[in-house]
């Protein structure tokens, strides 16, 4: 893996582009609730705000490494090379969706692109990712597993049990604790003992005697650096690490939960709606990871305004295509529902 200082222009622009792709994809999802109400069912969670953290982490991957996030899962496969058309179609419940309409937003999966699948039940996928790392170790594949989960999820027993086992067995896995300050309506200060005591959440690593680091999750290169070290450590057989990546979720937890036929949509962020903290939200927005990276790339001459515009347009066109593709795709035939129960 390259040092962050040595990243070539191409690679930097690739990272920047992935961040834009995630953002634009999520924007289109969000707009769907307004433009095509009822098209997206159930519960959908967006990753805007997490772009630097996702891309910085996954930019450290080797070819066959796996990404295993939670139900807030749109960002990762975008970086891994999954078709955004199929992703959009899945979230729209269509036959051409990634999972043929069986999974929806919370259960995207694309094993062919190193994305084996997710769980909607908090903390449980941390164990699944740990199991994937066991496969890598038993079969000696050289893979590293990138496991992502939220600040709230780090209070689920599965987190603790999994990290202990990964540490004892020295499994090749990097645990990225995405601290976006909230679990649904709850601010981390109300439910995390470390935070309540003024300590970083990465201190939980001490319960497993593994490295625990907190990193600015709005800075894609810092994430790249810290996750990179952890990945190298994992690949070298020295076991897991816990990286607390701190950033802010820009959208509300998910679309409003309403009983059909009441139309659903995205409410305001909880900082505003529940706590009335407009300043907190504005301050977080000011640290937008995409803005920051763009400014840096423009400043260092890696990116020109023209190039930026071109990238933005390409990304916009891609997601426009994705929406069109999804809308045009047929629904699965009802009788298909009995497929895939057993292998």
């Amino acid at each position: 893996m390259q040092k962050k200082e040595d990243l070539a222009k191409d690679r930097l622009l690739w990272m920047y582009t992935q961040m834009l792709r995630i953002r634009e994809f999520e924007e289109r999802i969000k707009r769907t609730f307004v433009e095509h109400p009822g098209v997206i069912r159930g519960h959908t969670h967006l990753g805007d705000g997490a772009e630097a953290s996702i891309v910085g982490a996954l930019a450290t991957r080797s070819e066959n490494d796996l990404a295993m996030p939670s139900y807030r899962c749109h960002g990762y496969p975008i970086v891994l090379g999954t078709s955004t058309k199929k992703m959009m179609a899945e979230i729209y419940g269509r036959k051409d969706g990634l999972c043929q309409g069986f999974g929806g937003s919370m259960h995207l999966a694309d094993p062919a692109h190193h994305f084996p699948g997710t769980s909607g039940i908090i903390g449980q996928a941390i164990a699944h990712a740990t199991g994937a790392a066991l496969t890598a170790q038993v079969k000696n594949t050289g893979q590293v597993i990138y496991c992502f989960f939220g600040d709230g999820s780090s209070k689920q027993g599965a987190f603790y049990e999994s990290l202990n086992m990964a540490a004892v067995w020295k499994l090749p896995i990097v645990y990225v604790l995405e601290n976006n300050e909230y679990q649904v309506y709850t601010h981390v200060s109300l439910e995390d003992a470390n935070h309540a005591a003024g300590d970083p959440l990465s201190q939980k690593a001490k319960a497993f005697s593994i490295p625990g680091v907190t990193v600015d999750g709005n800075d894609v290169l810092k994430v790249y650096e810290e996750v990179g070290k952890a990945a190298e450590r994992a690949r070298a057989g020295r076991g897991p690490s816990l990286i607390e990546s701190k950033f802010y979720r820009f959208s509300a937890h998910g679309n409003a939960i309403t009983v059909p036929p009441v139309p659903t949509q995205f409410p305001e962020h909880e900082a505003i709606e529940t706590y009335g903290k407009k300043d907190e939200y504005a301050a977080a927005k000011a640290k937008d990871p995409i803005l920051q990276f763009r400014t840096k790339l423009l400043g260092s001459g890696v990116l020109s305004e023209a190039e930026n515009k071109r990238i933005e347009e390409t990304v916009r066109a891609e997601m426009e295509e994705a929406v069109k593709f999804a809308l045009a795709s047929p629904f699965p035939a009802p009788e298909e529902a009995v497929k895939y129960v057993y292998a």
Partner: protein, 326 residues
């Protein structure tokens, strides 16, 4: 004087009234009472209304310990499947402690959760898992289908000295209905005849009661008189009322949102095979979810879940079947 209320409102009202009535009742769960502005916090303070981390095992286990020592916790668990990460507390701790201690402790608590999110919540959030809580001696389970039942059963649950799993159906949250005022308590183990009829007995819970009543309406127009029974609690289960109805109608159709072997339907069918066999003029008929997880996409989901049409068809099939010739 009865008051019209939404199902969700009836639930909230029961909690507030019981907390006013009894200072030992506490209420906690995830994403509750974040700030001082919260309605419940304003009424009862942060000592009795608490927010918890995503730690179901601790949330539920703490309720067990608190109940053993003098509180009456009501735990908001949001979606019944979340209990699966901590099922031991609901099934192997709360209901067994009294028995194992030879009656020395009691464990009065309510695990409250929504279920049956048949609206695109897909494979892990939409399931009906109430069958797991049946056959667990010491545990009671309520599945209200109307605002009045929601209020009366929750009040009973909070006052009960035993652990109760109270499951309210997501799809009914906004439904309106009359709720008797004041101290309204529905005893557990008493089924309710939601619609009287004479040709066929139809048993259902939760959302399926609504669908069954709609189907009964359609069938009435075709001259088939359907008696719709809602057990309301599935532990204890009022088999007697069902058998009495079958004695009258001779025919039994069971509707359930769960897959067949996870259904209350199949359990009732089994009970009637033992206790109501002599009254049956035709085989029991079940309308359950298909044997799949719940898929995301709407047409798939519709195909899997029971609906009015399927119920109508099942009742007609039951009517068409001749009496068993033995």
């Amino acid at each position: 004087m009865p008051r019209e209320m939404m199902y969700g409102e009836a639930i909230a009202t029961a909690i507030v009234e019981e907390m006013k009535r009894d200072g030992d009742v506490i209420f906690y769960g995830q994403n509750l009472g974040m700030t001082e502005k919260d309605h419940m916090v304003r009424l009862f303070g942060k000592n009795r209304v608490r927010i918890t981390p995503i730690s179901e095992t601790a949330e539920m286990g703490i309720a067990v310990g608190a109940a053993m020592t003098g509180l009456r916790p009501v735990v908001e668990l949001w979606m019944s499947e979340f209990m699966l990460v901590a099922m031991d507390q609901a099934l192997n701790e709360a209901p067994r402690l009294r028995y194992m201690t030879g009656g020395q402790v009691k464990v009065p608590l309510v695990f409250k959760a929504g279920y049956g999110f048949g609206a695109g919540w897909a494979g892990q959030h939409s399931n009906c898992i109430y069958h797991m809580m049946m056959g667990i001696p010491g545990l009671k389970v309520a599945l209200p289908s109307t605002p009045a039942d929601a209020k009366g059963l929750l009040t009973a649950a909070i006052r009960d000295d035993n652990p109760v799993v109270y499951l309210h159906h997501y799809m009914l949250t906004l439904d309106r209905g009359e709720v008797p005022d004041g101290d309204y308590v529905i005893p557990f183990g008493v089924a309710d005849v939601k619609r009287a009829g004479s040709d066929v007995t139809l048993v259902a819970t939760g959302w399926m009661v609504k669908k069954s009543l709609a189907a009964a309406e359609v069938l009435a127009k075709e001259g088939i008189s359907v008696e719709v029974i809602d057990p309301r609690t599935i532990a204890p289960l009022d088999v007697q009322t069902i058998v009495a109805s079958v004695k009258k109608t001779g025919r039994l159709v069971l509707v359930d949102q769960a897959p067949r072997h996870a259904s209350v339907a199949v359990i009732i069918a089994g009970e009637v095979a033992e206790h109501g066999f002599q009254y049956l003029k035709a085989p029991v008929k079940m309308v359950t979810a298909l044997d799949t997880s719940v898929p995301y996409s709407e047409p798939l989901e519709k195909f899997v879940l029971p609906d009015e049409d399927k119920i109508v068809r099942a009742v007609k099939a039951a009517m068409a079947r001749q009496a068993a010739t033995v």
